[in-house]
Amino acid sequence: MKVPSGRAGSIERMQKFSIFSLVANAFSGHAHWKPFWRDPAPKERYDAIIVGGGGHGLATAYYLAKNHGIRNVAVLEKGWIGGGNTGRNTTIVRSNYLWNESGALYEHALKLWEGLDQDLNINLMFSQRGVLNLAHNLGDVREGRRRVEANRLNGIDGEWLTPEQVKAFCPIVDISPGARYPVMGATLQRRGGTARHDTVAWGYARAADALGVDIIQNCEVNGIIRENGRVTGVRTTRGTIRADKVGIVAAGHSSVLAAMADVRLPIQSHPLQALVSEPMKPIHPCVLMSNAVHVYVSQSDKGELVIGAGIDAYNSYSQRGSFHVIEHQMAALIELFPIFSRVRLMRTWAGIVDVCPDASPIIAKMPVRGLYLNGGWGTGGFKATPGSGWVFAHTIANDAPHPLNAAYSLERFTTGALIDEHGAAAVAH
């Protein structure tokens, strides 16, 4: 694997954050902080265009510039940076996936997370507080133990905990045998945790901008221009922009963008809801997930419980879901954590997730020359943000996949070489 030297693309134009810059700016009334990124008008032509300014798209642009020296890049965002799924997820980071292809990709991402604060010179509030996946029945126990062993064979940390060890690690879980969903054990990935999600987008945007990438907001792509069977640019609400390489990183809108180039995907878009409670004193020390009950919950540094619900069954692009999904979620949460029964909720929202039949993403060249797609992350893309951008930048720069994403092709749906993480990925999708 080609790993560029750490400082190959130094971030020369960026205003560095440090204790010294903080003190200096404090003495000048905080009047001299620079914006995180410029607000450039789109140029006529770029070497590469990234459609979608979420975490994955911005990370792609950053690694194109840093790892591959391709700096004449535009990131086109139809809304604003951090306004899509990057700012709507439950901020969980982990790599305890079952299959080799997934383990390798998510673990690469996790290793990048571990140095990302320094690399991007920003505080991502990355907190490796541990991720518990509870087992409530014999099937869960077998799946969990198998996954721990598979993870360890792949060099990913994993442990099996008894119910008493679960209670010691997360004291508020009800492990009494009379519980509706008795806790029969759990897997623990200590290196898993959470990160401040919108800062991830801002951090990548700031670092990419400093390397010369143009971040263009309020710029919706409504056509992909092809000439002689290859991509030559995009039509947008801010005019035509030319490039010989176009990467689609549009999450819930992957199918819509791909259809502009007559590419059909095996993806369906659904609303996925999440919610936060009122802020409370620190009570919940880790990330806790339960596949059988479908709960995942952590506590943010502000003190809010961050809770993820399931997807709505039907296809939708509306960024709102049905209330009965929330109701089901809260019933399950209170069953596991009776202590939360009187907690009040502050907000609920939804993002549009692009779900693949095998619950694994497509990170690949498309049948149209010069067109690349990174999508189908479904309900679990946030954790992969750095690794996703890393391998997608490699794919665009070399017109060939990185070894870590070679298996994530569109052709796998023809060959049958699926990466079936439905049920295997430690949480239901």
Binding site: S255, Q268, Y314, S316, S322
Partner: protein, 93 residues
Amino acid sequence: MLNIRCPWCGPRDEIEFSYGGQAHVPYPGDPATLTDAEWAQYVFMRDNPKGVFLERWMHAHGCRRWFNAARHTVTHEIYGTYKPGEKPPERPA
């Protein structure tokens, strides 16, 4: 929550129904002759429009029968439901 009109039972809450994805995806007429790419189209590839979508629903907690609906995937407005074998309602422009 959606209010869905079952063609047999009338309007009911969404929680009585289960979802079946895209409608009008017929089983291949001559499966023995299909290429892998054609199988991929039948098994995995689906339309995913931002707009009107013809989709299948099943009245799981009612008559347990399948039917189709024409629904907008942004507004969630249901333009009509119809029994299998019937034609979809006129699509709004």
